[in-house]
Symmetry: C2
Subunit: 235 residues, 2 copies
Amino acid sequence: MKSIIIASTSTIHGSGYLEYLLDELKIHFKSTDHILFIPYARPGGISHDEYTNIVAKAFSAIGKKVTGIHEFENAAEAIKQAKGIFVGGGNTFVLVSQLYKNKVLLPIQNAIENGTPYLGTSAGSNICGLTMNTTNDMPIVYPPSFKTLGLVPFNINPHYLDPIAGSKHMGETRETRIKEFHAFNTQPVIGLREGSWIAVKGNNLTLKGPLDVRIFEYDKAPYEVSTNSDLGFLK
Amino acid sequence: MKSIIIASTSTIHGSGYLEYLLDELKIHFKSTDHILFIPYARPGGISHDEYTNIVAKAFSAIGKKVTGIHEFENAAEAIKQAKGIFVGGGNTFVLVSQLYKNKVLLPIQNAIENGTPYLGTSAGSNICGLTMNTTNDMPIVYPPSFKTLGLVPFNINPHYLDPIAGSKHMGETRETRIKEFHAFNTQPVIGLREGSWIAVKGNNLTLKGPLDVRIFEYDKAPYEVSTNSDLGFLK
């Protein structure tokens, strides 16, 4: 049975890395004490080793060991053998480029289909959607495609931000950007606020965390859905 | 002689479309009363006609007529015949996709080389750099390449924003994003604040407008350069 956590962010303000999710992760990864970490998104350009160390330290609080996928000779084989997978945030363009380069998109899809629990945060959540077209990241490298894992039948916009009242900056709000996306694409977009996550269990999708989500459907006014709601109605 | 205005934005807070630049544009386009407008970036997904109407209205204040490139059968030929070119803002991914699709990158480079005055704002400024890798826009469509006009030997980050003091949002600041860019690329980036522009006259590059720019060079701490400075030192 598919078991996925799609989290807006790894870190909420005033709290440590993954700290707000640790109780949930204890349950999510209860079948294994070893997590395969995919550090490809390299936040701030840090190395795969540096990033893996941060993640290992966070998971040690719930008794889990972490190994970076870059430590294996065969990345696809590492995914096949993994008992739990975490894809961390950083830059979605860098992440997706590396997923294609290392030919691991299909192995990840297969592993999840076979029941390997998956955690994504930020960029690692973005790739759970149909495409990465609704990332907030700067396009610092050119990936071979914007198509991603398609584990859910919509796109994710992590770190969703409501318009800032009284801002004098002329850049687009997040809502305007997603409206622009719908001038060229038709799939729904979930604006996932920091602290929220989507829990996928088999065919059930549920919104978790303290906040509501904002949903953008093609040719409809955006609307809010409350936490703990079933999101299975989105196609 | 090359004659280019690379502006951070079309519109500053509390002022009409292009209003803050009109005195400058009177001089920049003094050799013609007809501007060819390239509306490909479609801000907010508006149509080419709607966008061209907004621009025509703004330019009518200084006695210039505006025609949209989409009104011509042959876009490359329209550029060759143009006496002045304006590429407006919107979404850089949409703009660059259309520039490639309509095969107009080389014609624009040639026209500028031959002295046709060019104005870019926002996305239209982004494409003046070596690549569009430092755009702030959402990647709502997939362009065939991130390479752009290369009219200046660096990249542009328009609408440059300083970090917001006390923000609780965990998304990256603009400075962090550009630092990430330099983990994968080596060309300099100019963070151009709203209200600023770069004036290119032949081989001379000068910063104009009321504000300083923030310059990001590979493997160096970012630094400020004052308005009215020569930017020709950047390679």
